[in-house]
């Protein structure tokens, strides 16, 4: 019984990531896609909060979207795992429901 939350917005531009993180239940998963992956870069303003949340909820980032934006896997906040589209499908299938923070 867990929710897969998807966030597709830059946390620097919009409040979607913050709102998502404020509404997690224990064991939920967060997947950063599209401009949402911009949050995942080490050294950015959201690195700390993602690191903190990552201790209780798993956080993923979509690798094709990282690559498009020039973010190397080595540059990610520690604990964030990458998936491709197939991994996205697996996460959605394994969760009980998917909640998009548009």
């Amino acid at each position: 019984m867990s929710t897969l939350h998807t966030v597709n917005k830059s946390p620097y531009e919009r409040n979607a990531l913050k709102s998502c993180l404020d509404h997690l239940s224990a064991g939920d998963l967060v997947l950063l896609i599209e401009d949402g992956v911009l949050a995942a870069r080490k050294g950015g303003a959201f690195a700390q909060v993602l690191g903190d949340v990552g201790r209780s909820c798993k956080i993923y980032a979509l690798n094709p979207d990282l690559a498009a934006r020039g973010i190397a896997v080595g540059d990610l906040v520690e604990g964030i795992q990458t998936v491709d589209y197939g991994g996205f499908v697996d996460l959605a299938a394994d969760a009980t429901r998917v909640c998009a923070w548009l």
Binding site: E34, D84, Y85, F88, V89, A92, A93, R97, A100
Partner: protein
């Protein structure tokens, strides 16, 4: 597993349709079923055959039409959203007194009930938007 997909944005302007397409393709490759893809809001603009994207870019309408053909996907364009945005099939064009239509192959126009039904009949609803 049976997925349903909702797409809220048109092609190119937002990445939503790209991501949804790649998600759908990956799900089918893994043997999952896609019960329906429902195009809502500006998402209806994915279903016009009048687009001519630059030759060095992807053609999202064609990608969807081809995926629909090869996997018997049900691509539904919301009628209310389509009316606001100028997506017509032959029936709608006739009914509204318009002189032509622009719906792309593999897409069909239907009501919002199809979205609710998709939510009821699928195991997972996944929404892509702005």
């Amino acid at each position: 597993m049976r997925f349903a997909i909702q797409i809220n944005e048109g092609p190119y302007t937002h990445q939503a349709s790209d991501t949804a397409y790649r998600f759908a393709k990956a799900a089918l490759e893994k043997g999952h079923e896609i019960f329906r893809v429902f195009f809502y809001h500006d998402g209806v603009n994915n279903g016009t055959r009048y687009t001519v994207p630059p030759q060095d870019d992807r053609n999202l309408q064609k990608l969807w039409s081809e995926l629909a053909e090869s996997h018997k996907l049900d691509l539904v364009v919301c009628i209310a959203a389509a009316q606001r945005r100028g997506i017509l099939d032959a029936n709608e064009a006739k009914r509204q007194g318009k002189d032509g239509d622009n719906i792309a192959p593999g897409f069909r126009i239907s009501g919002l009930g199809q979205l609710i039904e998709a939510g009821i009949e699928s195991d997972r609803m996944v929404v892509f938007g702005d």
